[in-house]
């Protein structure tokens, strides 16, 4: 069964450092998303990406965040200058169409120290 792959599974970084979280969505999917989940809380929307541009972003997704699809397979989330409150699980997801459920990756646990 096709799956969404995320790397690394765990990233520890110092406050103020830049991090790049990587995702390989399912190959024929057209919609790509980043969500995050702070420990014990609900899954929060960050950004959606379609047709090589951001479709929608939340208020969490400020100027410190950016996304990129540098080639035909990877989808990355960059946090320019990490803060302690950025510590969370970050999930990448993809879907064939905006009217379908997502396939999520297993997540990257980001710990900012």
């Amino acid at each position: 069964e096709p799956e969404v792959t995320q790397t690394p599974s765990h990233q520890v970084t110092q406050m103020g450092q830049e991090v790049i979280l990587r995702c390989v969505p399912i190959s024929n999917h057209l919609y790509f998303y980043w969500y995050r989940q702070i420990l014990g809380q609900k899954v929060e929307f960050l950004v959606s990406f379609y047709n090589n541009e951001i479709s929608e972003k939340s208020e969490i997704f400020d100027d410190q965040f950016s996304v990129e699809r540098p080639d035909g397979s990877n989808f990355t989330l960059k946090i320019r200058s990490t803060k302690l409150e950025d510590s969370a699980m970050y999930f990448c997801a993809s879907s064939l169409d905006s009217g379908y459920g997502y396939t999520f990756g297993s997540g990257t646990r980001l710990t900012v120290v």
């Binding site: 609900k42 959606s48 990756g105």
Partner: protein, 115 residues
């Protein structure tokens, strides 16, 4: 703004019993609803979905019911098994909006199945 909530944060059932997990939503424009299962250390996994032109949809051992009048949906799991123990999230989407596909997730219900 949009919000999606679940009635109970935890639910404990005996193996073999049926489970019912509830969710309330506030956005009248929501037209697509999804239930996800999240096991410890993993990403949410799609279970079943329902569109607003339906009020019931069945899968394998799972049924989703949608009541648009009171903005409520539920997930019923028949003959609950230990492998069903997980956190269950409902999510809603307004597909008639732009090509965003953004889903709003509820808080999650932790289902524990006792042997």
């Amino acid at each position: 703004g949009e919000s999606v909530g679940l009635h109970l944060p935890t639910l404990s059932v005996q193996e073999g019993d049926n489970s019912i997990i509830n969710c309330a939503y506030s956005n009248s424009a929501s037209d697509y609803f999804i239930w996800y299962k999240q096991e410890s250390g993993k990403g949410p996994q799609f279970i079943i979905d329902i569109r607003s032109n339906m009020d019931k949809r069945q899968g394998q051992r799972v049924t989703v019911l949608l009541n648009k009048t009171v903005k409520h949906l539920s997930l019923q799991i028949a003959a609950t098994q230990p492998g069903d123990s997980a956190v269950y999230f409902c999510a809603e989407r307004t597909t008639r909006r732009t090509n965003a596909g953004k889903s709003t997730f509820g808080d999650g219900t932790t289902l524990t199945v006792k042997p």
